[in-house]
């Protein structure tokens, strides 16, 4: 019975790693570049459908957009909180203590990527962790989006907003922006409209971001770019790594010592994640 519990525990740890790539991958040192001070923290609620087969099954996650004078950082709320907590760790033991602290636990993070817009100038930097292989980094042009303005207007989250459409990543997107918030930024990679995007969704309603708050930071909060040993790659290589990891999950589960029944379960769970925000893998 003790062995069973242990196996279950190991299994649980493994699942938490897969389904929530852990924050600190053994190195408890977080060198970072303070790019600039955050002016505003914008919170979006993201509703997304991980499994394209299942219409009713939506996940919800809060996403943060930190806007500075020239640069912005986009990250999930859970990742931001967990990362801030993990950074207080000074060692593996300390990290485990933090991770197992029942009164103040680390959140399980589903979306772990970070997007830095206009960093470097005119570009956007995308960083993400691919399980077992470290941090990946690639750059894209900021001007990815060809927006078409429509003359529809509406009040969204209390702001007067105007409709615009674009195509991106194999989906058609409908955006609502408000000139009352004079930033040309938005959630995810979206940017380039003459006002903050207050709501954006794809036409199949698989991904929908909606503004829920705008605040000023209460202290000197920087837009921090983690200075890690990145695996610098192209967007295509990043997608290849991400897809191979997903297809190859049984091998990863086996390496972690899980039995074949759990391996199958993990594979089933992974199959339910078949609907990435960017469908086209180029």
């Amino acid at each position: 019975m003790n062995k069973l519990i242990l196996v279950r525990y190991i299994g649980f740890l493994f699942l938490s790693v897969i389904f929530s790539p852990s924050f600190a991958q053994t190195v408890f040192h977080f060198p970072k570049e303070n790019i600039e001070l955050v002016e505003h923290i914008v919170t979006y609620s993201l509703e997304f459908q991980e499994d394209s087969m299942y219409q009713n099954f939506k996940r919800q996650e809060d996403m943060l957009l930190f806007i500075g004078p020239t640069v912005s950082r986009f990250v999930s709320y859970n990742y931001f909180i967990g990362d801030s907590m993990a950074r207080t760790a000074t060692s593996q033991e300390d990290f485990q203590r933090i991770a197992s602290d029942k009164s103040n636990p680390l959140p399980v993070v589903r979306l772990r990527y970070e997007i830095f817009k206009n960093f470097p100038k005119g570009k956007e930097t995308f960083i993400d962790n691919v399980l077992g292989s470290g941090m990946f980094k690639f750059e894209e042009d900021l001007g990815l989006f060809k927006w078409e303005l429509l003359d529809e207007t509406a009040t969204i989250s209390g702001y007067n907003a105007q409709k615009a459409t674009t195509e991106f990543g194999g989906r058609k997107w409908v955006a609502w922006f408000s000139t009352e918030i004079p930033y040309n930024d938005g959630p995810y990679k979206f940017n380039g409209l003459p006002g903050l995007i207050v709501k954006i969704y794809d036409t199949r309603l698989h991904y929908a971001f909606e503004l829920i708050s705008i605040k000023k930071p209460g202290y000197d909060l920087f837009i921090e770019f983690p200075e890690l040993d990145y695996i610098e790659c192209s967007k295509k290589e990043y997608f290849r790594a991400k897809d191979a990891m997903r297809d190859n999950i049984i091998t990863h589960a086996k390496t972690a010592g899980l039995n074949s029944e759990v391996q199958q379960k993990v594979a089933k769970l992974m199959q339910q994640r078949n609907n990435p925000i960017e469908l086209s893998r180029k």
Binding site: L4, I5, R8, G11, L15, S16, T26, V27, F28, H29, E39, I41, E47, Q60, D62, Y77, T88, S91, Q92, E93, D101, K102, S103, N104, P105, P107, V108, R110, V130, G132, S133, G134, F136, L149, T153, S157, G158, Q162, P182, G192, L193, P194, G195, L211, K215, D229, I231, A241, D243, A244, M245, D247, N248, I250, T251, T255, V262, Q264, K265, V266
Partner: protein, 874 residues
Amino acid sequence: MRSFFLFFVFYFLLNNIFGQIILSGKIINSHEESIPYINILIYELDESVVIGFGVSDLDGQFSIELTTSADSLRIETSAIHYKKETQEIANHTQEIPFVLEVDEKTLETFTLRASPILRRGDTLSFLVDAFTAKNDRSIAEVLRRMPGIEVETNGQILYQGLPIQKFYIEGLDLMDGRYTMVSNNLPHQSVATIEVYENHQPVRILEEKVASQQASLNLKLNQDVTTTGKASVGTGFTPFLWDVNITPMTFTRKFQFVASYQTNNIGKDASSQLTSHLPDEFRKSLNHPNETPELLNIQTLNPPNDFDPTRYLNNNIHLLNLNALTKLNNNLQLRSNLHFITDFQQERATASHTIFTPKDTVTFNENFNNEYTSNYLQAVFTLSRNVKSNFLDNKLSFKSNWNRSFGLLINNSEQISQELKSPAKSISNDLHSIYPLGKKLIEIRSYISYDENPNQLQINPGVFPNILNNEIAYENSLQSIELNRFFTENSIGVVYTFKGIVISPKAGFIIRQQTLKSIIRVDDFQVSSSFENDQNIFNSQAYLQTEIQYRKKALTINFNLPLIYQTLTIDDQINNLGQHLNRAFLKPRLFVNYKLKGFWETSASWSYSNRFGDLDGVYYGFLLRTYRNLSQNNAPIAINSKNNLGVQLKYSNAITSFFHSSSFLYVKFRSNLLYNSIINEFGASVIKAIEYPNQGQYFSFQANTSKYYSAIRSTFSLRLGASQQEGMVLMNTEIFKSINRFYQFSPHVLYHFKNWFNIDYGLNLQYFENVIADNQDVNTKMLTQKVNLFVYPRSNQMLSLAVDYHEYKGKQDYFLDIVYRYTFSKRKIDLEMKYLNILNTKNYTTYQAFTNSILESTYELNPSRFLISINFTF
């Protein structure tokens, strides 16, 4: 040609009416510096719809192409740090310069809605019906679908990515972390709404002091529901097989009750739903005495880890779990969680032991026919008060078992019967309390336990006539022992918060006191006093901990230095022997991690530990521990030290899907004791601990490589392993060196086709070598091959097929199992069919290697079995 001409005419005409114009310009500030990132918006004169826009570049330039029929336009600038500028312009291409003034806008006005962080205290409610799908059975399946809620494969529930703290039913915490019993068995029809308490601090005294990120769930039941539950029934042959689970539940406002009865004879572990999701349970018990001291045993085999126990285990288990909670006066709650397990297991096997010494080799055979009857009762009563001014949680546990084992054994040709009665009783109390002291909080934890283990091992006939009975053969020997243990661990800590982190420094002490009394009777006469024990052990410890850390860029060095002060007194009344020791132990540990560039990572760790051996292993007089093991440990207490060095190198490239890791481990161990075995040709051994400082070492190397080819949807992997252990062995008064070497070669292929088919093949080749005193060399090898196939023809169906192949010393064993699962979505019924050991393989042979011996065992397997089971709710 004419139509082309017409098109041109038309185009120019249109262009005149709705002409495309370009509006460009430069944006500068009052110091004539260009300003980038300014939004420029174009409107028709009195409209509010943006018809064109642009953003100024790094030189402050903008350029907007526009097509509109309006006569005049409005052009506006918009930016957070500058004042808005508006101009009315005519609809033609032109340059419009802007000079912007800095604006100190107050930006607080943008706060629109409180962020989720501030939603503290809010309660969200979800209507269960709205989230139910047709295949759902239990509430756990519906929970999985609610926004923000997730259920892990092990049953743990998460909200917004965090494990929930409490699982309440109508506001009461009945299950104390073991909520899987309810969440997996409670039909969703019984639950009306799920309430989520966000940022819930369950300890009320900490409410405004320690912020909580975690949520708790509360299940609000349908009004008409008082009794509900789930059942699953499975049956099969041969012999007659069953697997039953009935879990009824009753909930009222002041009283709640969950019961579960589970029984099977298919070798299944029925206790899995009793696992707690509280992280505490894993961390406890490091210092606590071993729950089952197991000083006496009937001769048994420990099956290898990779062999599925359901293949050979013949069980008959009944489990009854009762949980009840009532509200008392004075804000007190009383909860009781009881479980009772009764199990009967049978094991049939044969084993061949080969023991090597420098001069000769002893081989003896045993044929086992063992029966284990165990009855286990555990009762936990929790009294808790959770109010603003203090927190109290007191758990009182009783554990009791009445275990009996009976073994009929044939050693070479002699038949020996063994009977072990090992009842045990224990009582423990675990107190956790938090009281305010000024502005700080004092946290007290106190654990106290007492247990009694009166064991009796009766053996007919005995194998030690020369030692126990003046070389006269005897019918019957009876070893009886009484081991009583007291243990307490107490700690006090201060809890305070610093920048959102809870800091809790701690100091503690441990006291352990135990007595061991034992006698051996041969044919009802007591054997001399050197086969008797009456000893008393007193051990106390005080502990503190320090940690030092250094880090620079990719390098992390961590140094740990826990300090423990121990005193130990052992006193034996019969033999008038004893020892007294005071000692401080240090357990330093060093960890170095260096992250290389890109895909590489390397780490190294070293640790040194130094500690007393297990106190249960000290007995000055002989104990007859099994029918052929007579042992004595009257040497000074074992002090074992260990140096541990590990190096790991990893390469992982997800772009090419190539992963590799190599690790090297070196351990050097020292002990002041060596155990001398004097062994006869029947394998009977007399073991004595002797003070003889000795050391040994262990090396191991492991490499794992895997590569995924997406074009053929296959993964190829290879595991290589090699290890060597050397140490000193004292056998028949001769000290010699023993070296064990172990090699492993294990390739693997996995292929998967879309979502409905995957197949996996693996081979494992093991080679073992034992070198005794540099002259005797023994070796053996084993080959295993496995194929697993999973097919999902539809989403409600699953078919799996598994083939195993084992080869040991020319004997080949095959196994074949098939499982098929079908879900009837409308009727809320799941059907599962299993056909196990289809080839009706009778036995299985494997080996285990020890320092200077090899044990080959052959298990008698369960025959070919067919099992069908049905799940339903009520």
